[in-house]
Amino acid sequence: MSQLLHASLDQQQQNQQQSGQYDQICTRSSSSSIPATEAAEPAPCPGQRGRSPRRKWQVFPGRNRFYCDGRIMMARQTGVFYLTLVLILLTCGLFFTFDCPFLASNLTPAIPVVGGVLFVFVMGMLFRASFSDPGVLPRATPDEAADLGRQIDSLGCSRPPPRTREVLINGQTVKLKYCFTCKIFRPPRASHCSLCDNCVERFDHHCPWVGNCVGRRNYRFFYLFIVSLSLLTLFIFAFVITHIFSSAGSNRTGFLSALKDSPVVVCFFSVWSIVGLSGFHTYLISSNQTTNEDIKGSWSTKRSKDNYNPYSYGNILTNCCAALCGPLPPRSVRSTIRTKVRSDVKHTSEDPDSDVQSAPCAPEVSARGTTRFGY
């Protein structure tokens, strides 16, 4: 006992001797409360004043586009998103301009009000789903990738080296795959989006209509968008039909009349797909599955009798509440925080505060059209 006490006292004395030598390690965290719009910090050393600060989103390795100084994050191809915007704005615009005056005066003024509220909610959810970070996992730093590589090599000399890890989650064996692009073992339910070239947490699917991936951070906005859009579509469809039948006696021929009635056509064709999609996602939410898992049949009993979803809470209500009202994690890829991209290789590897993904070999990129980083 006394020997252990002496040993621990010696250790403490050694630590105290060593502590003086390590006082110069700066413990200021790079993540603590740096507002996005803060002005650039001055260079730490007089000799390094020549380096201009770059924002993290400017050197982001994925194939995303950033707007508004990194606050808005979208996929590269946004053409279909603009089509979605045009369809919604045009249809609602025509409805509010040509049908609402008649309906408000002949039926009730509540119709344009409810329509307006639905429209604002739909647009809000669309923008939130399109512009949010879906839950992108930042790529491994070179040190992390090297450490993982060493772990994989040390597991054995089998060729090819094992690129999967098995974990037991709530009694179910889940395989974690190694992502060659991001150099990480993907967490459960994460998947790599080939269009955006990122690993996304709880990856559902890449939605071209929304112009972004749907993942952990924006799934609820996507779901509320399609549900509210279903309601809006049905609402407009119902009331335009009402208007048409109410004014059946009057002259309704000609191009202008056709234009006024076009919301009906748009709504008729889109209601099937949107309502169907809402129903599908309601089923997914109630069983706590992602589109990715459902398509692959990951938890289907057809694979094996013992197969079950380890993430489900067992209760439809809890699953729904968890998906829609659960805590919203903040973005891990903190694209709006300024960090200095060091062109000096030696300083980058030694500085613990420098956590920019573009370490030594990466080229600098411009603000728009981020290039892929070849690892």
Partner: protein, 160 residues
């Protein structure tokens, strides 16, 4: 708030404390996708810090993350309120997760100042690594010769 008097001193004194190695504490997925880190004590830290201190740090961090991701009355209330305001309420209010992350950042800084930096270690906040790993940087002192015997065995065992 800094241990070192000014940031540029770290640059000037870098020759006497250099980064030797980094240890990565991986996630523990046994309870699902909730954020939890493994409490297994890495062998590289055996000569640098006591096991109990390390385990306490990781367990406290796990508790913080569990608190942030807890699904209960408060999170439902926050979610419903946010939904009814079309999520505009988050323009003037921060989410519970963000509040807990600030507490975590403060805790990590305090641990670094009190426990880890005096032992030549530095914990990086997991949010900087996408919540995938806790990165612990191991520094070795190149200045003095007497006390470097422990650290040289660490750097000697891993190839860089």
């Amino acid at each position: 708030m800094d241990v070192c008097p000014q940031f540029h001193n770290l640059q000037e004194l870098r020759h006497s404390a250099s980064l030797a190695n980094k240890v990565f504490i991986q996630r523990d997925y046994s309870e699902g996708t909730t954020c939890k880190f493994q409490t297994k004590f890495p062998s590289e830290l055996e000569s640098r810090i006591e096991r109990t201190l390390f385990e306490d740090t990781v367990k406290t961090l796990n508790n913080y993350y569990a608190e942030a991701e807890k699904i209960g009355g408060q999170s439902y209330f926050e979610g419903c309120l946010a939904c009814t305001t079309a999520y505009l309420i988050f323009l003037c209010m921060e989410t519970r997760y963000e509040k807990v992350l600030k507490k975590i950042a403060k805790y990590i800084q305090e641990q670094n100042e009190k426990i880890y930096a005096p032992r030549g270690l530095l914990i990086t906040d997991p949010i900087e690594r996408g919540m995938r790993v806790i990165e612990i940087s191991i520094y070795e002192d190149r200045g003095s010769s007497g006390s470097s015997s422990g650290s040289s065995s660490v750097s000697g065992s891993t190839a860089r």
